[in-house]
Amino acid sequence: MRAVAADGVWKYFGDYPALRGASLEVAKGACVALIGRNGAGKTTLLRILASLSKPSKGKIDIAGRIGYLGHGIGVYDDLSAIENLTLFGRLAGVSNPAATAGAALEQVGLSRVKEGLAREFSRGMRQRLAIARAFLHTPELLLLDEPFTSLDDRAVAVLQKLLSDARSRGSTIIMSTHQIREAMELASDVALLERGRMIFAGPRSSEMLLDPGWLYRTYGEIKE
């Protein structure tokens, strides 16, 4: 059963095509590492999948509720941690948003500072709050844009635990990353974007796990 289908997706910014006919099919429950160099179109594709941007051409089909973690943390500085998560719980229509928010803060180790304003939190605490926000409504599809970038050790452990729980619940995960070794350990599938084209999409193989550079050497460097 498919969780995500992107068919021949193009996205222009002015005259520049950030995506050039990228296609991707993701089965329900899969964990896809979306990799590619800077400017390859990873963020653009994730934003289109998250309904934050419309494709210029091509079709998108998404099944289920989305949890999105982008480059910004997506929490309000002038609300407390519990207020932030309760708000997002209400927006997602979860039953008993305050209790769900409290449980989520417990999971990410912020329950002791739940009444503190997000603006007063350290960078690591804000990142954990953002992670709790993205996972709060137990989404069927998680779209994570470089989720491990600049996380401290504790936040990495929290995120890995939540990703593991999400996978065991059957959630589908698509995460863009530059940390290929860590991503390969988590991923069941790999998608490689280069200059807006999807040049590889398939199951993660043992070569990819053993040698993070193998994928780029084998499929990379499009000749124009």
Binding site: A50, K54, G93
Partner: protein, 218 residues
């Protein structure tokens, strides 16, 4: 439910920061006080321009309120999270419009007694029809303003762009509100133009709800 959550969030953050409320209240009071010194009008002339003066102040004060509506979502990329959330776009829009409406009503209720005091205009006798006109016209200002706040949210000069887009569209609403307010302040309970406000509110509320997804996701 989602709309109420958004409205509650906007009111709560505004109450804590007072970033648009302070600016809007100060602006309304300063303009009312300055105009009272600037013009040397007799009572008849003053009554003739009273509705126009009041609604010019409200319209400019309203722009300061609605300017922050979607701009408030820019820090930390909160707008992305709102759009990606399961809450429909129309609920996000309505929540923001309701919050702006309540904030602007507060500014208007604070400045109305100041208006009466400085211009020696007695509005208490027609308070209920005046409140009806204020409520309907304020909803029109906030619904159009909130929609244009979404249009200009990613524009670099949004503080300039929003009034340029907003005021031409508000002309029919403001003319209706000004005429009715002038009539009420002169002791004539004229509500003949109320249909203009009702139609304006209904058309622009429906249009904004229909278009908000096209505005936010580009």
């Amino acid at each position: 439910m989602a709309a109420l959550a958004i409205a509650g969030k906007d009111l709560r953050t505004e109450w804590r920061t007072k970033e648009s409320l302070n600016a809007s209240v100060s602006f309304a009071l300063v303009i009312l006080v300055l105009f009272s010194f600037a013009f040397d009008l007799d009572r008849e002339e003053l009554l003739a321009i009273s509705g126009g003066l009041l609604w010019l102040v409200y319209a400019f004060a309203g722009a300061l309120i609605v300017n922050r509506s979607f701009a408030r979502e820019l820090p930390n990329d909160c707008l992305d999270v709102l759009i990606a959330s399961p809450a429909p776009g129309w609920a996000v829009f309505l929540g923001k419009a309701v919050a702006c409406f309540l904030l602007l009503i507060l500014v208007e209720l604070i400045s109305l007694p100041v208006f009466g005091l400085f211009y020696n205009i007695h509005w208490a006798g027609s308070i209920f029809p005046l409140l009806l006109v204020i409520a309907l016209a304020t909803w029109g200002i906030t619904v159009v303003g909130t929609a244009f706040s979404a249009v200009t949210v990613n524009v670099r000069l949004r503080e300039l762009m929003l009034p340029v887009l907003l005021y031409p569209l508000l002309i029919p609403l403001l003319i209706g509100a000004m005429e009715m307010t002038t009539g009420l302040l002169n002791g004539n309970a004229v509500l003949s133009d109320i249909r203009i406000l009702l139609v304006f509110d209904a058309v622009f509320t429906s249009l904004s709800i229909y278009l908000i997804d096209f505005i936010l996701v580009i």
